[in-house]
Symmetry: C2
Subunit: 184 residues, 2 copies
Amino acid sequence: MNSLEEKTLHSKEIFSGKIITVELQDVKLPNGKQAKREIVKHPGAVAVIALTNENRIVMVEQYRKALEKIIVEIPAGKLEKGEEPASCARRELEEETGYVCESLEPLLSFYTSPGFADEIVHVFLAKGLTKKENPAAMDEDEFVNLKELTLEEAIQYVKEQKIYDAKTIYGVQYLQLQEALTTK
Amino acid sequence: MNSLEEKTLHSKEIFSGKIITVELQDVKLPNGKQAKREIVKHPGAVAVIALTNENRIVMVEQYRKALEKIIVEIPAGKLEKGEEPASCARRELEEETGYVCESLEPLLSFYTSPGFADEIVHVFLAKGLTKKENPAAMDEDEFVNLKELTLEEAIQYVKEQKIYDAKTIYGVQYLQLQEALTTK
């Protein structure tokens, strides 16, 4: 079996920001030729499918500068240096929604854009939510509106492209699948 | 209702590559303060859930330099300038797998990483597959191995993190949901 691997011949850092680092790499292809690869490095992130005791999905409405539009997403955020995904999930849930959770179950992780970025999202399921009196504050450059949707409303939001991103569409589909499997 | 919008005060192009462009923006926040935004611009992409007549899912095994690992994905690729998503889906399916399809149904689109990138993936469902005698060639820097998985195998691949990216996990879950809904 031929290896598909690409060996790095040279790597140059183009940009190092607060969130991403951009590298331009020269690689050796499996056939011996060379090519360039544009790589975005990201610290990784978590996302939380959080269900209230009334079985509503906790969402945040947020302006996304990269998209120049407001979309509705499950609570999520970047990993801080050395932070465990589960701790990050609890922190982001509290900061963005004011909720703390009794149970937090890791569901799965996925890369968002393997063609150019190493961002990975760790998805959790949170239950047993209670509102905290004085929740931790969000980042000072972050502004969100809380929304709690039934599964039916969330499915409608997907159709209307108010829910429009990979992790949230995964989350809605996950809950649809659980419902379909338990009512079989 | 307060607007969540962030206005661009200044935008500077940091890098313009073959695939991505990177911008550093100064924005005005809803509270009047300023912040920086790191934005990756991407031409957009398509992904194809393609089912053979034996109901196997067509996948490609591919080395992803950004991840430094081989993963198994549904066929996918970047939009060329001015290319319609459906045309791109047929082109990528043929180039990566040698299959042409009778029917191609748009399922949905999603942003992969709204926190820092504008990449959107348009997902299609392809059926009525036939192998083409002399399929169009892939990009010269692209190397993949074809794999055809049953849904059960694909679910196992997700568990084993051989399938590990957003669009492919969406695709597998989509097929699981369809199966659960039709066997209700």
